[in-house]
Amino acid sequence: MVTAMATQIDVTVLLFASLREMAGTDRVALRLPAATPVGAVWGHLPEPIRSTPPPAALRYALNDRWIAPGTPMSGGDRVALILPVSGG
């Protein structure tokens, strides 16, 4: 029986609008356990974001495509947090 290694992956989280302002940067590098779902990144973001509850309408993109929050991440992935949009 082979024991699974607790592999770590490096991912980038892209932030926009008020999330970007709250973080003071438009991207955050995170080292997380392999296969962490995209929906789990919120709790790893810098304060004051992670103390704020994620809005129910938050959506996600993985490598510039819409993705469900349960999707597991791989090393090198770029995750974007999409707040309710207001273009137009």
Binding site: L14, F16, A17, S18, L19, R20, E21, T52, P55, A57, A61, D64, R65, W66, A80, I82, L83, P84, V85, S86, G87, G88
Partner: protein, 141 residues
């Protein structure tokens, strides 16, 4: 692939119309969204737009393609950065053989663009305060 433009420069409606006009078209419907001088509590002097550019471009192309499926040729331009009161933030042109398809495509494109394209704006008030329209923030200075 429909023409999609994201730009920090002022939008040219005439150029957008020219990009889709053709001899087979008899009707062209256009929508232009402009910064409005609102005043709920504070007068708005400008809106500032920010995009997740890679996905915004792909999503605008998808929206325009869906609108073109209604029987029109569609072009979309969205401005980024600061857009003062009275200037255009978005322009959508739909050209078709006749006006019902042109209106339907134009309306679908702006409605879907506003619903799902990852672009956000913040209002800039006369007193310098700003507030993001992204469902999250309280006013920040």
């Amino acid at each position: 692939m429909p023409a999609v433009t994201l730009t920090h420069d002022p939008l040219s409606v005439d150029a957008l119309i020219a990009s889709v006009a053709g001899p087979e078209h008899g009707g062209i419907a256009v929508f232009i969204g402009t910064t409005r001088r609102e005043a709920d509590r504070l007068e708005v002097v400008a809106l500032e737009y920010e995009a997740y550019e890679e996905l915004a471009r792909a999503e605008l192309e998808a929206v325009a393609s869906e609108a073109e499926a209604l029987g029109a040729r569609v072009a979309v331009a969205h401005r980024l950065g600061r857009v003062p009161v009275g200037e255009a933030s978005v322009a959508i042109v739909a050209a078709a053989g006749h006006r019902p398809a042109a209106f339907a495509a134009c309306r679908l494109a702006i409605d879907e663009a506003k619903r799902r394209v990852p672009i956000w704006k913040r209002a800039v008030h006369a007193d310098g305060t700003t507030v993001w329209k992204d469902g999250l923030s309280a006013p920040v200075s």
